[in-house]
Amino acid sequence: MNSFLFLIPRFADAILVTLEVSVVAAFIGALGGFVLNALRLRFPRLLGALYRIYIWLVRGTPYLSQLVIVYFGLPVIGVTMTAVQATIVSLAIYSAAYFAEIFRAGWASIPSGHMEAARAFGIDRWSAFRSIELPQAIAFVMPLLANQTILVIKESAVASIITVPELTMTASDIVSSTYTYIGPYAMLIICYWLLTQCVAVAFKWASVLIAPSRKTS
């Protein structure tokens, strides 16, 4: 028990690193995914193919390879980043593909009649996007966004291989210096669990705030 308590300060530092890296990356990724989907909707012919290639590449390859390209590959062309920066950038690029697909699903969930009615009543595209599609799509995607954010938190563990002092690296460090397994890994599990629970609860609140009285048909 004593050795367990002794772990807390190091994990407290590490949980903040994981939180920072994954929340910033998920935020940028979600924003990027939203923009990707919006551009695809607005310019289907021009950008539809580019969008599909992006999704195809990012979703079709492991996150580890993307991290390695950003951290070890980009310096070759003169772009150097710290380990934390490289993690945030690569994780944002990676999650943006998934977030974009989530927003695509959100927009696909809106019956085509809603936009037909908007057109028939002379509502321009931007107003319809903002006032008719967006509120419905956001309500639809909230649980999916929570899901994806949780996945980003867990995927950030991969950053341990480029020495980002986040949870997984901290646990491995302690294991290799003390040769105890149960304590550090139990702590690791608890920390991830705490983080993901916080995200789940935060999104639940946000969903309620967004749609206080809405009745779905």
Binding site: F121, G122, I123, Q136, K215
Partner: protein
């Protein structure tokens, strides 16, 4: 005296790939007229209606709204350029629509739905828009539901909201696409009576419908379509009374049979 028709279709055609669903439709709608499109499923009547406000881009002929060409930059038969979205919206402005599936926006209240076209197309300031929306709701008898959400209303009430939304923009012609087809039978009458009251107020309407008795009573002009063509068009007395078109006689037979039975049942 020949005034400019409010809506005019000249040889309008539409194809989906090799499938030509409209084969040259001619139709003139004068102010104050009520025109009903009838015909079997797949005859193209809904497509024809949707070409009248360019929800469906027709690819032959012309649609004129108050003397302005809808959808294209120039008339004529050859390759044509689509008009800009803004010009299309401007030309279709006098036209509003009621949909078979209502197409209300579920995240907005009833009042929000009716006011949205005015607010979002910036045709009125917010206060005026809500006043106009309330007036429209009054006409369909649903003021007390102004702050309810569509999902809490019956189908008939939802369609009346759809009609209020179409009225609020103060249209000069209303397109109604099978306004009662998605309703339970006992809810049909409340919607028809709203449409009847609009007719009494002189609203110009083009309606696709399967309610034959209603079409017979309310219309100035009935158009029978089949396979993308107008087979017969004229006053209701002609089409429902003494048509000589065998296909129309056959189409109307079930309706005649039913009316005769119900008359016999009453007596």
């Amino acid at each position: 005296m020949s005034s400019l028709p409010i809506l005019e279709l000249r040889a309008v055609g539409k194809s989906y790939g090799a499938n030509r669903v409209l084969k040259g439709i001619d139709l003139t709608v004068q102010r104050g007229e009520i025109v009903s499109l009838i015909g079997p499923s797949g005859s193209g009547k809904t497509t024809a209606l949707r070409c009248m406000n360019f929800l469906e881009a027709y690819d032959e002929g012309e649609v004129w709204i108050k003397g302005q060409l809808l959808g294209y930059r120039s008339a004529g038969r050859a390759e044509r350029d689509l008009d800009s979205e803004k010009s299309i919206a401007d030309v279709r402005r006098p036209v509003s629509m009621v949909f078979q599936q209502f197409n209300l926006w579920p995240h907005m209240t009833v009042l929000g739905n009716v006011a949205a076209p005015l607010v979002l197309s910036k045709k009125a300031d917010k206060g005026d828009a809500y006043k106009q929306a309330l007036a429209a709701l009054k006409r369909v008898g649903l003021v007390e539901k102004a702050h309810a959400y569509p999902a809490s209303l019956s189908g008939g009430q939802q369609q009346r909201v759809g009609i209020a939304r179409a009225l609020a923009i103060e249209p000069e012609v209303m397109l109604l696409d099978e306004p009662t087809s998605a309703l339970d039978p006992e809810l049909v009458e409340e919607v028809l009576s709203v449409i009847r009251s609009l007719a009494q107020d002189g609203m110009t309407m083009v309606m696709v419908t399967h309610e034959m008795s209603f079409a017979a009573k309310i219309s100035d002009h009935v158009v029978f379509m089949e396979a993308g063509k107008i087979v017969e068009a004229g006053p209701p007395e002609q089409l429902f009374g003494n048509t000589r078109t065998p296909r129309l006689q056959q189409f109307l037979k079930p309706w005649f049979d039913r009316s005769l039975t119900s008359v016999a049942g009453v007596e």
